[in-house]
């Protein structure tokens, strides 16, 4: 039985492993990255910080700082990384915001509408996972929809980091080209 992405997220959130990583309070899961590593499907959850300022569309978005990677469907944790120590990110000041939430493309959506879109995107992740692990049907339109939703929801200011973290995922779903 392949767990849904929501189950995977919640299991990780409640795991002792994550607690033991001692991420400072305020970091939460960003949109995950799917990848194939040595023939195994893996999912990487980036962790970043949002700081509400009390003003609409002026919530501060900070760089992705940490990442936890799991193998699917076992949910075995195979990696944890603090990007402060990755060479590619040596010039990033993780304590300075890189953008504002909501970005322009999603300013039309209120909290409920945003959550609905995000929920639909999580469903698209599930389709990819099930197609790989259970050979479930997966169509071109599914892939297009996932691309569209990801490009809508991922903070533009975080795209360069997604590109560095996983160039294949970035090219498949996030690059505009």
């Amino acid at each position: 039985m392949v767990p849904s992405i929501e189950q995977i997220k919640n299991n990780l959130k409640k795991s002792n492993f994550l607690l033991d990583c001692r991420l400072p309070m305020g970091y939460s899961q960003g949109l995950p990255i799917l990848s194939i590593k040595n023939g195994c499907l893996c999912i990487t959850f980036p962790y970043l910080k949002y700081q509400t300022t009390g003003e609409v569309d002026k919530t501060l978005v900070y760089p992705i700082r940490y990442a936890v990677t799991l193998e699917l469907p076992t949910e075995k944790i195979i990696g944890y990384e603090d990007y402060e120590y990755r060479d590619a990110f040596k010039n990033i000041d993780f304590d300075k915001p890189v953008g504002l939430f909501r970005h322009k493309a999603i300013q039309q959506y209120d909290e409920n509408q945003y959550n609905e879109i995000r929920k639909e995107l999580m469903g698209e992740y599930d389709k990819v996972i099930q197609s790989i692990l259970e050979n479930a049907d997966y169509t071109v339109s599914d892939e297009k929809r996932m691309r569209k939703l990801l490009q809508l929801l991922v903070e533009p200011s975080l795209l360069p980091m997604y590109q560095v973290i996983d160039i294949d995922f970035y090219k498949k779903y996030l690059s505009k080209g």
Binding site: L48, L60, D110
Partner: protein
């Protein structure tokens, strides 16, 4: 926004203090009633309180500036040989215009009353709410137009006990119709002595709701210690959303405002809590049988964390001070936590490190996750102190559908100091929230608290 100030009700660090001593009369409940008390206009301060013909008090009159005019009276009001009251006539008009009192006879002056508007009536009360010898809570009832009716009420707090007020709220009746129609809230967020966050609320139609809000802030965006940015926002239609935003540079050399609008996107951190709708617990008016915990006691330890990420440190400090009765210096505590790797000024505190300072100070604590609210309430009723991690956005900004984040993790630590079941259908969780300038005894609806707590895996640190 509350347009109804409390009269002669001093709210110091959450305590409601009714001022009553032998030498003055107080407590007015309605604006029309007599306010404050008329200061003595005689020089004899020796009293026979019990009418037995023997003077119970003794006063020494002093010429403090050596000009030949008596201007200070040092009084032992109860005749116990200990000075407990000092009257001063600072303008030498023959009327005492300020008085300093030791109301609990512990040898420390804890109350100060003065005549701020110069009408001969004591209109301002200062209270030392925690007995450290520093007046930290102020309440003024002023009659600025001298028509005999209070038209301005000012409440101020020196939360960090540095002798300077960091938070002040002013209620004004600008048109003299007996209704308070303007409220100005001022905060000194960085503790430099300058009120750098000022919001004014106008109630044009006297319905008790704001019709307009203007918020002004002075900010140091580049962190060099100098104010460089002035931000003005206005909500002109009273819908609780700002309609305009203007940002100006401040000339660092002259301090003058340069009316050159700059892009909002370059502002960086514009943090500010917007939690004006949250009420504060009032121990004096609460039904003790309906309240779990001892919020009145806990509120005495509350402090505002300012623009720091020290919420978990402050929560632990509150608990340590409550349980050990020792005063902890937050700077020393932050130093300790940073040196040990439990905390970082830039990033804050990890969940699992939220009990490290408690442990260091010898406070026994148990950290657990995935608790029910009944667990939390049980510990409060057992006299334990409870710290939790929450998603503060749910509490501070929960009702605005346009103000949310994709983040669903805990980002803030608070002390839960009680639960008020006075309204059984709407129980309120009482917090010592160091992240809110008015977070002393912050009242949060139970459902809202549960949503915020769930984001923190229902973590709980119980201390005893």
């Amino acid at each position: 926004m509350r347009f109804a100030p409390l009269f002669m009700t001093v709210r110091g660090n959450g305590n409601k203090i009714n001022l009553r001593t032998k030498v003055y009369v107080i407590i007015t409940k309605k604006k029309e009633q007599k306010r404050g008390f008329k200061m003595f206009d005689f020089t004899d301060l020796n009293f026979d309180f019990d009418g037995d013909g023997v003077m119970d008090s003794h006063a020494d009159f002093i010429d403090s500036d050596g000009d030949g005019v008596l201007d200070t009276a040092a009084v032992d009001t109860d005749g116990d040989g200990i000075l407990d009251t000092v009257f001063t006539d600072s303008n030498q008009d023959g009327m005492w215009d300020s008085v300093l009192m030791d109301t609990d006879s512990d040898g420390i002056f804890d109350t100060q009353m003065s005549d701020l508007d110069g009408d001969g009536i004591m209109d301002t009360t200062g209270i030392d709410s925690n007995g450290d010898g520093i007046m930290d809570t102020f309440h003024s009832e002023l009659d600025l137009d001298h028509d005999g009716i209070v038209d301005t009420i000012i409440e101020g707090n020196d939360y960090n006990q540095d002798g300077t007020i960091e938070s002040q709220t002013t209620y004004c009746d600008t048109d003299g119709d007996g209704q308070f129609d303007e409220v100005v809230k001022e905060y000194d967020r960085d503790g430099d002595g300058i009120m750098d966050d000022v919001s004014s609320f106008q109630d044009f139609d006297n319905d008790g709701n704001e019709d307009m809000e203007i918020r002004e802030r002075l900010m140091d965006l580049d962190g060099d210690g100098k104010i460089d940015t002035y931000v003005v926002q206005s909500d002109t239609d009273g819908d609780h959303e700002f309609d305009t935003l203007e940002v100006y540079e401040v000339d660092a050399e002259t301090g003058e405002l340069e009316l050159v609008p700059i892009s909002v996107n370059t502002m960086g951190n514009v943090s500010g809590v917007c939690v004006d709708d949250l009420e504060n617990f009032d121990p004096a008016n609460a039904d003790p049988d309906a309240v779990s915990g001892d919020p009145g006691r806990s509120m005495q330890e509350w402090e505002f964390q300012g623009e720091t990420g020290r919420c978990a440190l402050y929560s632990q400090k509150f608990v340590i001070e409550e349980l050990t009765n020792q005063e902890i210096d937050i700077e020393e505590l932050a130093d300790l936590a940073e040196k040990n790797g439990w905390f970082s000024e830039d990033s804050g505190t990890p969940l699992l490190n939220m009990d490290k300072v408690l442990e260091y100070y010898g406070v026994h604590s148990d950290m657990s996750f995935h608790n029910d609210f009944s667990d939390l309430q049980r510990d409060l009723e057992a006299g334990k102190k409870v710290i939790v991690a929450i998603d503060s956005d749910e509490i501070w900004y929960g009702e605005n559908d346009d103000l949310f984040t994709p983040g669903d993790g805990p980002n803030h630590a608070v002390e839960v100091i009680g639960v008020d079941h006075s309204d059984p259908d709407n129980p309120m969780v009482i917090l010592n929230d160091s992240g809110n300038p008015n977070g002393c005894g912050e009242m949060v609806p139970l459902d809202t608290f549960l949503d915020a707590w769930e984001d923190g895996n229902c973590q709980m640190i119980s201390c005893m």
